[in-house]
């Protein structure tokens, strides 16, 4: 088999990273379980009893053989059977309650944890989302938490049970016969050694398998997303060759290697078990002949050897779960530790109903991880109700300006005032409830057209929704959709054209009826009729509120009350269309090259 080299990123993914028991991570994870400590203690107690009743089994068999059968005493036989039965019944109840309680605890912890993560995600600033992809967020909240769930609900107790059982069995064996026990225990160091070696190679092998599957995953994702290009360029044969001979084959190779590692180690436990049994039979058997032990002891002992190796085998398997749970836990904690950059201050006030005066007061801004000023000394007064067109080249700082207005971030110096209130002194919610934002690429949620418009105001009636759609000129095309307002728009609104998505987002903003509107005008060209409808809709949107538009269309710009030219992070000119043209500066130059045809 030829070795396949995978791209470097395959092994660099943070999902592959695993680690042993990190006390600090463990301590913080345990905090999530603490609210349920009584339930936990109770189920540990239940387990202790259940384990004891299981350990006692072979001992009862020994008594039955030695004192009942060999001593010809039917009474002992009957009593042993009855005790055994009683132990089994107790065990049933205890296991039932233990499983049930633990499941409730585990599930509740997971529920709490997800809730906490989601709430945290709702507070993290937008800067976070530009660094952290959607896929990673989902892996954290869904996959990593699932790993942790498995660990809490099954592994924690299984490990405890295995340890209890091991201790119980060792005690039982020692009670039965110290010499035979010691013979069995000789295998322990061998077992530890073998486990250590196995764990190291298995960890490496399984990490490769995970890396391989994530490679398969990304190749699949890319080709399915780009299926139209794949087919348009007739790449199917070539892509299939690559997939089957490289990506998928690499996965097969890693899988087979891991299988080889496991197949080498697993028999070692069996071999040690066989060694122990043979030794016990030989030495124990000779002892029976010498009458120092009974046949029952020997039988009971061999039964214990079987049970003795089970928890050991199980424990070495659980260690993998522990590792991935720890790694997942650490990634979850890292997400929870992400700082919320924009916080309501403790004394933040609810912003009362505003008129819509906006004032930028010597405001400067740079990102926390980059000292280059993005905005420099911005001062701008906008009276309530006026429309401001922001123009300038890509990267001049227009978007940053409006993001500060929505308080997606805070200015580095200077102030931003709405109706005289510094934005940092009021709650984010009370500000945003009175603001509307329309993005360049309108995002629609999976749901009906109606639900998407209603997102602007949840308690709106159907009539209000329709009125908003009518006002922006979306009503007609919505009615032409398969189920009208009840048409589902599907993932990202793929069923609708760009122009239609824009109109829906306009209706959404209009329904919210904000005092201040921020609009990032779309640049993509749409057909002439739709363009006309959009122009009208914009005029309707701007009516009676303070509006900031990152403008691309000439018609939008010329009809604005105030045009602000942003250049290299500062305002270079401001005024009306006529004033700025007369000024013959930057605006004049931009106007001449044509904003958009």
């Amino acid at each position: 088999m030829t070795t396949i080299t995978h791209p470097a990123y395959v092994t660099q993914s943070e999902e592959l990273y695993d680690k042993g028991l990190d006390p600090q991570v463990a301590r913080r994870l345990i905090k999530f379980i603490l609210p349920y400590k009584w339930q936990l203690l109770f189920s540990a107690a239940l387990m202790l009893v259940a384990t004891a009743s299981s350990v006692i089994g072979p001992y009862l068999v020994k008594i039955a053989i030695d004192d009942g059968l060999n001593a010809h005493n039917p009474l002992v036989l009957r009593n042993t059977a009855l005790v055994y039965l009683a132990a089994a019944i107790i065990r049933w109840g205890f296991i039932y309650w233990r499983v049930k309680i633990m499941a409730l605890v585990g599930q509740s912890v997971i529920y709490d944890l997800r809730k906490m993560l989601f709430a945290h995600l709702q507070r993290l600033s937008l800067g976070f989302y530009s660094r952290y992809s959607v896929g990673r967020v989902i892996t954290r909240v869904i996959n990593d938490v699932e790993t942790l769930r498995e660990f809490i609900t099954w592994a924690v107790l299984a490990i405890a049970r295995d340890l209890f059982a091991l201790v119980g069995i060792i005690i039982a064996m020692l009670t039965l016969n110290a010499k035979l026990s010691l013979i069995t225990f000789i295998t322990i160091p061998l077992m530890v050694l073998a486990t250590r070696i196995y764990r190291r190679s298995a960890r490496l092998a399984y990490r490769k398998v995970r890396a391989a599957i994530s490679w398969v995953n990304s190749v699949l994702a890319e080709n399915i997303n780009g299926i139209r290009v794949v087919q348009a360029f007739s790449r199917q044969t070539h892509n299939y060759q690559h997939f089957s001979q490289v990506t998928n084959r690499y996965h097969l190779q890693t899988l087979l290697h891991a299988a080889k590692v496991a197949a080498t180690f697993m028999p070692i436990v069996d071999i040690l078990g066989a060694l122990a049994t043979a030794a016990v039979v030989y030495i124990g058997g000779t002892a029976v002949l010498g009458e120092s032990i009974t046949a029952g002891v020997l039988v009971g002992f061999v039964l214990y050897i079987d049970r003795y190796f089970d928890p050991i085998r199980d424990l070495s398997r659980r260690f993998d779960t522990l590792q991935s749970a720890m790694a997942g836990g650490e990634r979850i904690l890292a997400l929870l530790d992400m700082e919320v950059e924009v916080n309501d201050s403790a004394s933040a006030l609810e912003l009362p109903a505003i008129r819509g005066d906006v004032r930028f007061d010597q405001l400067s801004f740079h990102y926390s991880d980059d000292p280059t000023l993005v905005l420099r000394d911005i001062s701008l007064s906008v009276p309530a109700g006026s429309t401001v067109a922001l123009v300038g080249e890509t990267g001049a700082g227009k978007t940053t300006l409006v993001k500060l207005l929505s308080r997606f971030m805070d200015p580095t110096s200077g102030r931003l005032l709405v109706d005289g209130h510094d934005l940092r002194d009021i709650t984010q919610n009370s500000l945003r409830r009175q603001m509307g934002v329309v993005l360049q690429d309108p995002f629609l949620f999976n749901g009906t057209v109606k639900e998407n418009i209603k997102f602007g105001r949840l308690d709106a009636t159907d009539a209000e929704v329709q009125a908003a759609a009518q006002a922006v000129g979306a009503h007609e095309f919505i009615l032409r959709l398969k189920n009208g307002y009840e048409t589902s728009v599907e993932e990202g609104g793929v069923m609708l054209s760009v122009g239609q998505r824009q109109l829906i987002s306009f209706a959404r903003a209009l329904l919210a009826d904000p005092r201040i509107l921020v609009l990032d005008e779309a640049t993509s060209s749409v057909d002439t009729q739709t363009e006309q409808i959009i122009q009208k809709a914009l005029a309707r949107l701007f009516q009676g509120r303070t509006s900031f538009v990152i403008a691309h269309r000439l018609s939008t710009i010329t009809s604005a009350d105030l045009i602000v030219v942003v250049e290299g992070g500062s305002i270079s000119e401001q005024g009306t269309h006529a004033e700025l043209l007369a000024h013959q500066g930057k605006y004049f130059a931009l106007y001449q090259t044509g904003f958009q045809e």
Partner: protein, 573 residues
């Protein structure tokens, strides 16, 4: 069960499977033989004081133990090998099928769904074949073997001892039936939870802008709670079944001890036989306990197989016909003859009564409102969809008769959103012709006005783009896509002329690149700019799926129809 329909997947490995079964048979025989050694040891060795027999037994136990270890290691590798290969084949098959499925399938399919079929569902099938099938086979061997040995020792005791096994098996199957549906529910709830999260994160700006965080938290909480409930339901069932199986196993031992013990006292059974008996019963009981897991895995694998088969069963509607015409180098004549198109699940036809003839090397501009059918029309030329009525002819050949690659390789396509793959820029340009020389690639990039900015990157043409490489701007992506189309040197070119998110200067660059691209080919442009439209040899005005006017700019203006109306609006805007 759907899993049986996957027989084709294991066919190539019948020899390995047979070998594995043989190996398994050996393993089972070994484990069935073990209790006999103990019986002989007690009854003959210990009772009669035969020390030679004790050594013999110990050596036998050791030897057979080693053999068991070796065989079980082999078994493990064998089954993983078979499972790995079956999974590999199945995944290849799925991949190839998916990438050949038609656009109309992909229009409605969700990427995440398809990926999870190739990965999770194949894994479920693979796990079942690798682990559970083997266990199932072993179980059958064990049950048959153990019961016959027990029957040969003592019929009465056998019949008494296996009584608890019956309710156990019944309970397991009943549990299996119920748990499959429950797990299905759990998976769906987790899917919902993940979808809700995905949407929230993708739309984070909208959520923030409208201050809808609390509303979103409520909605998330609903899904979170539903998932919690679904899990608890599964575990509540499990909490009953698990200890009950355990309980029934213990009952087996108690029955053997009680009735067998009485037999020993009456002299009908030896102590050794009793111990061996107990071992056999435990041997039966352990797999019966495993049955719960097995039934579980079988249900999961069957559900996985069903989902995988669902994809494989979807016919690739658009494929080269049996006796396909291998198209020679095209002249570039395109004709639509009485074409109608209705997408599945759509109420109205997207195209109706379309008749259009385009001579080689003509520049055709398509204009009309959103949804008027422009994109639908051009999608018919590379046969991304099949017409519902009529014929689309390229150089006089019905596209449905043409060999698909020979058709598509001669058609260049530049879409509105230029999708690039995470690979080097060079590989992206050479996407349609992986064998292109560096000179050809550079030439295409130059013509597409992309050469300069590509060389601006430290690694030039080897620069990686996409998720793990550099992020190209919209205008840069578009130019790479144009170079990609140029390199194909297509005879027919299809352009979606709507440029998004580029500044005026970039737009001019792209325009120049496009002009270069259009030269000397039949070109269809979905046009928004008057400058493009004006130059066209043929302007096609579309409205509600029909061609309402055709002609040159001058002709159409003179006619005073829809074209003039659009033209006037644009000028005044």
């Amino acid at each position: 069960m759907s899993i049986f329909r996957l027989r084709f997947a294991i066919k190539p490995y019948l020899i390995q499977i047979a070998f594995s079964a043989l190996n398994l048979l050996g393993l089972t025989a070994l484990s069935l033989y073990m209790p006999r050694i103990m019986r002989d040891l007690i009854d003959n060795g210990l009772a009669r004081g035969d020390s030679r027999l004790i050594i013999q037994s110990a050596l036998l136990l050791l030897g057979l133990g080693l053999l068991t270890a070796a065989l079980s290691g082999l078994q493990r590798y064998l089954s993983e090998w078979i499972a790995g290969h079956v999974g590999y084949d199945l995944r290849n098959k799925l991949y190839d099928h998916i990438q050949n499925l038609s656009f109309s399938f992909h229009d409605h399919a969700q990427t995440g769904q398809l990926i999870s079929r190739c990965i999770e569902d194949v894994r479920a099938v693979q796990n079942f074949i690798g682990g559970s099938v083997v266990e199932l086979a072993q179980l059958v061997f064990l049950i048959v073997g153990a019961i016959s040995i027990m029957l040969s020792t003592n019929v009465t005791l056998t019949l008494i001892g296996i009584i608890p096994i019956f309710p156990m098996v019944w309970m397991t199957f009943d549990f299996g039936n119920r748990i499959t549906a429950m797990f299905f529910n759990v998976d769906n709830r987790l899917g919902d939870l993940s979808a809700r999260l995905q949407e929230n994160v993708s739309g984070v700006q909208v959520v923030r802008a409208f201050a809808r965080e609390n509303y979103e938290m409520e909605r998330f909480d609903e899904s979170n709670r539903a998932y919690y409930d679904a899990r608890i339901r599964v575990i509540s069932t499990w909490a009953v079944v698990m200890p009950t199986t355990d309980f029934l196993v213990t009952i087996c031992t108690i029955l053997i001890l009680w009735f067998g013990g009485s037999m020993v006292l009456r002299g009908e059974l030896s102590v050794g036989e009793l111990v061996a008996f107990n071992a056999y019963i435990l041997m039966l009981a352990a797999p019966a306990q495993q049955l719960t897991n097995l039934v579980n895995a079988a249900g999961e694998a069957s559900a996985g197989a069903q989902r995988a088969l669902e994809v494989l069963d979807t016919p690739a509607e658009i494929a080269s016909p049996a006796e396909a015409v291998n198209l020679p180098a095209l002249r570039g004549e395109v004709e639509f003859r009485g074409v109608a198109l209705k997408y599945q699940d759509e109420k109205q036809a997207s195209l109706a009564e379309v008749n259009l003839r385009v001579a080689p090397n003509q520049l055709v501009a398509l204009i009309g409102a959103t949804g008027s059918g422009k994109t639908s029309l051009v999608n018919l030329i590379p046969r991304f969809y099949d017409v519902t009525e009529g014929t689309v002819l390229v150089d006089g050949v019905d596209v449905r008769r043409a060999d698909l690659p020979s058709l598509r390789r001669q058609i260049g396509l530049v879409l509105q959103t230029s999708l690039l793959f995470s690979d080097s820029i060079k590989a992206n340009i050479a996407y349609g012709r992986p064998d292109a020389s560096d000179e050809e690639i550079f030439a295409a990039a130059r013509a597409a006005q992309a050469h300069e900015f590509i060389l601006g990157f430290p690694e030039g043409y080897e620069t990686l783009v996409g998720e793990r490489g550099v992020t190209l701007s919209g205008g840069q992506r578009q130019r790479v896509a144009i170079a990609r189309a140029l390199l194909m040197n297509p005879r027919i070119l299809i352009l979606d002329d709507s440029l998004s998110s580029v500044d005026t200067q970039t737009e001019r660059l792209i325009q120049e690149a496009l002009d270069q691209l259009m030269e000397g080919r039949t070109t269809f442009v979905i046009a928004h700019r008057l400058s493009t439209v004006r130059r066209a040899d043929l302007i096609v005005v579309m409205d509600q799926g029909q061609i309402v006017e055709t002609g040159t700019h001058v002709e159409l203006l003179a006619r005073g129809g829809l074209y003039k109306e659009i033209h006037d609006i644009q000028l005044s805007g």
